[in-house]
Subunit: 265 residues, 2 copies
């Protein structure tokens, strides 16, 4: 039987709120067994960017990572946020180790090439991006990897990668060796048909219902990539996927918990 | 017989010069066997600090790490510089892993307490600061640790620590398990009695000569803490200590090399 591992993606506004972040990290530290945390940025990156004169740039509605933005996100994601999170987890007696994809060559990506849009220093996952051997050896040494969204191309270039995509790729790759539970923690209690109505939370969502709700435009468009990725992950070895509020990760195994479980059928 | 390890402290201006840094990192990557790199900051931290409105503060001539400065150095040292160095070492086929002291609880320090001066978020090394077991397990996994100057207190607080001090503490602690060669790479070819005269380079410096030169004020005062630390390291298990220019680390084993070897007698 494969050992279990929990891979938690920290999203939403908790990363910008000291109390919410502390509570989340304490709950994460209390998860038994092997675990990995993946985090993105937050408003602090935009705030520091504004102070540095680095403004968010969009082309055709898509965010561009130009050279100044790469410097900014490397400082904020891989430096300030990653090390603050690791220090807080150490306080909670979780032996965390912060990693960018360059560290130990843990995640090697390819710079996105697009004929239409120059996305700049954006790294896309590819087959074999995740260094499973490295991660396994860190886990075996009692360490809890904490990934930020900075990766590298193996040729000296740092790249900015979507943190949801990193979490999904880790989950799929590690499913060779582990029974993987993937948890997306964010600002909603799960998938809802009406964001204004807590009772509209979908407790269990299978692919058939998802496709139906998608065709009816009942699910917020911002959720679609995450959910499509979830079904792909389930088809590629991931055992369990849960979407929940960042304040709810400690209770997702209780029957009273408010969250969405994603299943295939 | 203990295995050998080279611990290299990168100082001086090379970290701010792309070509000099590339050359240094290629030479570092080529060092055979176990190795560790320790780096400090550079002018880029001051430049970004100026753009963020974080100015260097001094009290009684000593640099203060206030909360804004800690945010700045965590971003620049642990984020931008550390990850750029790691990505470049990966390019040079050196399996580097960037570490702050919080990562894997690798270096735990104590916030400096002083009745006279509030140094702010400065961490001092203490007995047992260096997590030798962690570093050994990373080295055994084929990884090359790259330490920045950010440490933590184990209670959630990041701290700023002198990179020379980190290098010396690593060297002394690892001497239990390794035959340690400690190399300080900086902007001079070694210890000189006249900084304007390359021929004044001292090729071998023992403690007796050092004390004599110190009493004659022949050695630049900025070098004294580094040299005093060197003799302390040699008395505490470190096998070899070399001071050299950052451009010279690849040739320190050749007879024509320009560097200073520190010896006890």
């Amino acid at each position: 039987m494969k050992p279990e591992i929990s891979i938690v993606k920290l999203g939403g506004t908790a990363i910008d709120n000291k109390e919410a972040l502390d509570n989340f990290l304490c709950a994460f530290a209390a998860i038994p067994g092997y675990k990995i945390l993946v985090h993105g940025g937050g408003k602090i990156a935009s705030n520091i960017g504004t102070r540095l004169g680095v403004e968010a740039r969009y082309v055709n509605g898509r965010r561009i990572t130009d050279a100044s933005t790469l410097v900014l996100v490397t400082m904020v994601y891989a430096g300030l946020l990653n090390k603050s999170i690791v220090a807080h987890l150490q306080k909670a007696r979780c032996n965390a180790i912060g990693l960018s994809g360059a560290d130990g060559n843990s995640i090697q990506t390819s710079k996105r090439e697009s004929a239409e849009t120059d996305f700049g220093f954006v790294g896309d996952m590819k087959a074999g991006s995740v260094n499973v051997n490295l991660i396994q050896s860190l886990l075996s040494a009692g360490l809890t990897p904490v990934f930020n969204a900075i990766t590298h191309d193996g040729s000296g270039q740092l790249l900015n990668t979507n943190a949801d995509t990193i979490a999904a790729a880790l989950a799929k790759s590690l499913s060779e060796l582990f029974s993987v539970k993937l948890i997306y923690a964010f600002d909603q209690p799960g998938v809802m048909t009406n964001l204004e109505d807590p009772s509209s939370l979908i407790h269990t969502l299978n692919e058939k219902t998802f496709l139906q709700l998608k065709s009816e435009n009942t699910i917020h468009s911002g959720m679609l990539p995450k959910l499509e990725s979830c079904f792909d992950s389930l088809k590629n070895g991931v055992d369990q996927i849960v979407l929940c509020h960042t304040s709810a990760i400690e209770s997702i195994n209780s029957s009273a918990s408010q969250h969405t479980t994603i299943i295939l059928n």
